[in-house]
């Protein structure tokens, strides 16, 4: 009984994780292959000015939002060096990413556990913008 319960739990969790990850990577493949990315970087560059960002911050920001901090670290570091992004902008990008990153994978995994989709996405993104905005006014 104990063993069956354990096996059921493990198999269901492993199965669900595999399915969610497959959906996540299909979505990421579409995003990366379709050329949406270059357009998105331009659009985001125009949109994020009001929270204190400069245009060039949109590429590392998008990399972190999609890939996460650990997997995105190399790319983000390269972008910061290549585009000579200044210290203030690096901090603002880091503040947003500290609060909100790997948005497709992490959201998928926590929805799998039963979390409410709306509540784990919209308030999180809103809060990340709000905190970035406040920090851009106060701290720097």
């Amino acid at each position: 009984m104990i063993a069956t319960n354990y096996l059921k739990g493990v198999l269901s969790l492993a199965g669900k994780t595999f399915i969610i990850l497959f959906l996540v990577f299909i979505l990421l493949e579409i995003v990366q292959r379709s050329g949406i990315l270059t357009k998105a970087i331009k659009v985001i560059g125009k949109l994020i000015g009001f929270v204190g960002y400069k245009k060039e911050s949109s590429a590392p920001l998008l990399a972190g939002i999609l890939l996460g901090i650990i997997y995105g670290a190399g790319v983000i570091d390269d972008m910061i060096k290549e585009q000579n992004i200044d210290k203030k902008q690096v901090l603002l990008v880091s503040i947003f990413l500290a609060m909100c990153h790997a948005i497709i994978e992490d959201t998928g995994l926590f929805m799998m556990l039963g979390a409410n989709f709306f509540w784990i996405t919209i308030p999180r993104i809103f809060l990340a913008f709000l905190v970035t905005f406040i920090c851009s006014k106060i701290f720097i």
Binding site: G9, A73, I76, K87, V90
Partner: protein, 142 residues
Amino acid sequence: MNKVKDFFLSALKRTYRTFIGLMKIILPVYTIVYVLSLTPLLKMFGDFLKPAMKFFGLPGESALALILGNFINLYAAIGVIPQLHLNTHQITTLSLMLLTSHSQLLETSVFIKLKTRAVFLLLLRIIIAILIGLIMARIPNL
């Protein structure tokens, strides 16, 4: 046709690689927590942290997900959460707290590498996660 095949193969490869990486964390954590749940230890741990977790509307045992999530990573928390018997509201609260603050050892070291204010970011994430938990516990059921 080759393009479609290539597309799915690439997605499947990335899925497989990530899946193996995740399972290396999720399975041992799930197993240890399952064994602990058969002993009085998990309940003792939960009773001890009950007064603190009450502020987030969560049972004491869910502190284990917060601790493992912050010190190890989200996948360790994922090994714990299915065994906590939480309702949708509680899972959402715990998820939001974890999504805001997790993998602190590894992610803080990334911020150090980016030469930005890593300690400030570490404290910011922990404080915001606590505030989110307090607010989520006070909104009506989802």
